[in-house]
């Protein structure tokens, strides 16, 4: 068992890949849930199965703006989170569904299971969705989520993060991930973040402050590009 009383120190090992270590011992919930038997490998052509296509009717007018879904504005630091959805050949993926969910500025989710004694915000549901544009771009307006404690180990806190669910075009492009904020002091202590063993791959989960998308007198901008594996389906559209 990994002790998490002190920062997790990982070797900068060039053999480490971009993959997440599924049975990372510091993350307690993996123990009874991660399959123990080796995965059965499928033939390559079975990987390029087409996925669902979502239309504009899947999106409400204010679904991308988490600060305008109630009568009043939510409390917290208003931010704009934007970026592009690309495949690893650099091609934009357009018309793809991106869903986000997050804690409020106090670090509390609007969910019956969350019993963290921080206030709920009547003006914040914490959920958004949008379709990517023709250049793969997306944009959400929200408030910066707070850090919050979780029961994984003694004095465990999650770094502030926004959950992302992404549908590309194909089965192999389905991705659920979490976007973090630059310079978070909780990074060295978080087993979910550190289950991605390669430091360079972990950086891909961290958004970047962006002055260009920062709106004067209104909101800070953060950029977060998402890269999915290329699929042969790309060439058919």
């Amino acid at each position: 068992m990994t002790s998490l009383d002190s920062p997790i120190v990982l070797p900068d090992d060039p053999s480490l890949g971009p993959d997440v270590q599924l049975d990372y011992p510091g993350y307690r919930s993996t123990r009874l849930r991660v399959p123990k038997r080796p995965l059965v490998t499928l033939a390559e052509e079975l990987h390029s199965l087409a996925g669902p296509v979502f239309g504009e009717d899947a999106i409400g007018e204010l679904d991308h703006d988490l600060t305008r879904q109630h009568a009043g504005e939510p409390l917290g630091e208003r931010i704009v989170v934007s970026g592009r959805l690309l495949d690893d050949d650099g091609r934009p993926l357009s018309g793809a569904l991106i869903e986000v969910w997050q804690a409020n500025a106090a670090g509390r989710y609007r969910h019956e299971v969350d019993d963290h004694p921080a206030p709920l915000d009547p003006n914040f549901s914490g959920a958004g969705r949008c379709l990517t544009g023709s250049d793969g771009s997306y944009r959400f307006v929200t408030v910066k989520p707070g850090a919050y404690p979780w029961g994984n180990h003694e004095n465990a806190w999650r770094p502030a993060h926004i959950h992302f669910s992404v549908f590309g075009r194909a089965f192999t492009q389905r991705l659920v991930t979490q976007m973090y904020f630059p310079g978070d002091p909780l990074f060295p202590y978080d087993p979910i973040f550190n289950a991605v063993r390669d430091p360079k791959a972990r950086e891909l989960l961290v958004s970047q402050f962006d002055l260009e998308t920062t709106t004067p007198e209104w909101a800070l901008g953060f950029r977060f590009d998402i890269v999915l594996p290329a699929t042969p389906l790309e060439n058919e559209r």
């Binding site: 997440v20 123990k36 490998t41 299971v113 914490g126 959950h163 669910s165 659920v176 979910i192």
Partner: protein, 157 residues
Amino acid sequence: MTLAFTPSQTVGPYYAIGMCRRTEHELAPGGMKIAGRLLDGAGAPIPDGVIELWSATAGAWGRCGTQPAGEFMFVAEKPPAAPGEAPRFDVLVFARGLLRHQVTRLYFPDEEAANAGDPVLSALSPDDRATLVAAADGDGLRFDIRMQGESQTVFFA
């Protein structure tokens, strides 16, 4: 140009806020009921998972969050088979504790001949095969998913 992939992270326990805001478990209204339970390595229900059914041949997709006893339920029709394969759904499993989703398959119990000729199913041992074939249950089907243990469901990469 080759860009590095964005790594996967767990959906966590609160995915329902973002991923199950609306009812999406009916792939084909009026179709058959496909119900099951998501179970952990101790045989305990996983109450905070989400299951997605995908079919490339039917162009069908749906998802359902698991309930306190680990149950999920879909209303769906059997998808057409791809040439040389048995009809099936591709199944994705997301949960707290899964840093990446797992991939499995649901085959149909009334397709014995097609199942015997399916290149993926027929390459498995009889015990492993059994974890992927749903059981007839009244007018519908039952399909339990076991993440670990002796009768662990087969997962694919």
